[in-house]
């Protein structure tokens, strides 16, 4: 990739070089080459990142197409999915009736639930984690309880939350909360426990009060741990919402899958899976990106 671009740059710089004043031509040449070179470099980096997954996806689609075209195949081939469900792929935001809306809307509904549940989990997890991280006795008392609770699968909470809230939407949000709060809480506690003694001494010499200590030392120092927890938490939230919506109904992407299964629209289900995967990936990257901005410099000593 880089070679042709360099040649073009050299050729364009060669024209002024015909004039006798040699030192004058040196400057534009030096400017032109890095600019074109940088562009070529950028293009080759993007290609290096995009091409391999593209090749893999195309290869998988081919295998899938061949496998699903055999007689007796139970799942639709990519070509069939495209024929049956291309409206779902091409128009994520159509509205054709109260229950006939684009997958984009359904994903947004699910994301709204995740935002509330995960937001609550983040606040509660960081606050309780901070307390546990600071107090040896709170750690001893609560850690075993949390270690047991965090292994409970998301859906196992659903009947109890339905009984408690008597409504589908808050129950789904509660399931998100209870699923994602543990990694946030435990990681925060570990991060707080690992605050270097030096920082604590600095805080003591400066006589920082509890609130100043929380915001100026504790949170920034534990930020890398907190964001590890948040990243695990957002992933779990997205796992849990789909499962919870399958059972609670409504307009979410999870219920869409269940509904499509009941009316035997396998193509729609596969398209929905793609949506879920891409949104989950985007959520993970979003939290990771926020984390890398917020924790910039925190790990350097």
């Amino acid at each position: 990739m880089a070679a042709p671009a360099l040649k073009i740059a050299a050729a364009s710089a060669a024209d002024p070089a015909k004039t006798p004043a040699a030192p004058v031509v040196a400057l534009p040449q030096r400017k032109a080459v890095p600019a074109a070179g940088r562009l070529a470099k950028k293009a080759s980096t993007i290609a290096a990142a995009v091409l391999p997954p593209l090749v893999v996806v195309v290869a998988l689609m081919l295998i899938w197409q061949l496998a699903a075209n055999r007689p007796g195949a139970t799942l639709p081939a990519p070509s069939v999915i495209w024929a049956e469900s291309k409206d779902l792929i091409l128009e994520p935001f159509f509205v054709a009736g109260p229950q006939d809306i684009g997958l984009g809307w359904r994903v947004l509904t699910s994301l709204q639930r995740v935002a509330i549940g995960f937001g609550l989990a983040a606040v509660a997890g960081v606050l309780v984690g901070a307390i546990i991280g600071q107090s040896v006795w709170a750690m001893r008392g609560l850690d075993p309880v949390f270690q047991v609770l965090r292994t409970v699968p998301p859906l196992a909470w659903l009947p109890i939350s339905l009984a408690a809230f008597r409504d589908a939407n808050p129950s789904a949000i509660f399931v998100i909360f209870i699923t994602s709060v543990w990694p946030i809480l435990i990681n925060t506690a570990v991060g707080i426990r690992n605050i270097p003694a030096d920082y604590q001494n600095v805080a003591k010499v400066l006589r920082l009060n509890a609130i100043e200590y929380f915001f100026k030392i504790m949170v920034p120092s534990a930020a890398p741990y907190i964001f590890t927890g948040l990243r695990i938490g957002i992933g779990l939230s997205w796992l849990a919402i789909v499962a919870a919506e399958m059972l609670t109904g409504g307009v979410g992407i999870g219920f869409f899958i269940w509904d499509a299964w009941n009316s035997s629209k396998l193509s729609d289900i596969i398209v929905a899976l793609l949506y879920i995967g891409i949104v989950g990936f985007a959520l993970d990257r979003l939290v990771a990106a926020v984390g890398s901005v917020v924790t910039r410099g925190t790990l350097a000593s």
Binding site: P196, D198, Y199, N201, V202, K204, V205, L206, R207, L208, E212, K216, I217, P220, S221, A223, T295, R296, G297, T298, L299, A300, S301
Partner: protein, 264 residues
């Protein structure tokens, strides 16, 4: 007149897992205002513990640390500490690290503009004004230690406590920083207490050198006054008989009378 800082019959022991070990026993010392005092001794003699007691970061088991006749038992900005490994907060810029201290200590006393000038003034004092927007990860070890000193000085402490401030630096950087500290001490005339295990550093910088016996149950073995006039210049001192004598006295104490009796 009460003593500026008085260590009065201090004992310190730590209890861990039911076992009590005595680190310091019966430490007595009077420190004068404006004095540069070094505490020297082998590793494990409790000199860092002693500094932490003066800083108020740990509590005495018996006895008292008295500052102008008032007991010290909690840390505070009037006894600023320069930590051995600089302890700058890596997520804050050099300027913000100093600002954290200045905002806390002078929040009700100085206006925002005055505080800004004070931060810049202290960074200039340690010749770090040029790097104020850098983060600690982007500057060298010697520069970090300079910022640590600036942060401590910016608290306008009555006593500056330095815990092996140059221990982690290479010899040339260390020499430059020692000169800086001497210069600051000459200008500000503040009281400084420095932990060190470098004999030359102790003699060069100090008015008095406190020599600790070996632990456990360490105490002050001897206090040596260094009768060298200030300002002191490294090169002039090399052949100064008083410098050589002071150096020899400390070396004899450390390696003849209180040799460390262990394999390490």
């Amino acid at each position: 007149m009460p003593a500026y800082l008085k260590l009065d019959h201090i004992d310190k022991s730590f209890t861990r897992a039911g076992v009590t070990s005595e680190v310091l026993r019966d430490v007595n010392l009077v420190i004068n205002a404006g004095e540069y005092l070094s505490i020297i001794g082998h590793s494990g003699c409790g000199k860092s513990t002693l500094l932490n007691l003066i800083a108020g970061l740990t509590q005495v088991s018996a006895g008292a640390v008295l500052m102008e006749d008032r007991e010290v038992n909690a840390p505070g900005p009037e006894r600023a500490v320069v930590f051995q490994n600089h302890s700058l907060l890596p997520w804050l810029s050099v300027y913000d690290n100093v600002r954290l201290a200045v905002d806390k200590v002078f929040s009700g006393v100085k206006t925002k503009a005055e505080r800004h000038d004070w931060i810049v003034h202290n960074l200039d004092l340690v010749q770090m004004g040029h790097a104020r927007d850098k983060r600690p990860g982007e500057i060298s070890g010697g520069m970090k230690q300079r910022v640590g000193i600036a942060r401590a000085l910016a608290m306008e402490p009555k006593i500056l406590l330095l815990d092996e401030p140059f221990g982690a630096l290479d010899a040339l950087t260390r020499a430059r920083l020692q000169d800086s500290v001497m210069d600051i001490h000459a200008r500000l005339k503040n009281t400084m207490i420095m932990i060190t295990h470098d004999v030359d550093e102790a003699v060069l910088l100090s008015d008095r050198i406190v020599m600790m016996t070996n632990g456990p149950s360490a105490t002050i073995g001897e206090v040596l006054a260094v009768p060298l006039s200030r300002p002191r210049r490294r090169l002039d001192l090399v052949s100064d008989p008083r410098y050589i004598a002071a150096r020899e006295a400390v070396l004899r104490f450390l390696y003849e009378r209180h040799k460390l009796m262990e394999a390490a």
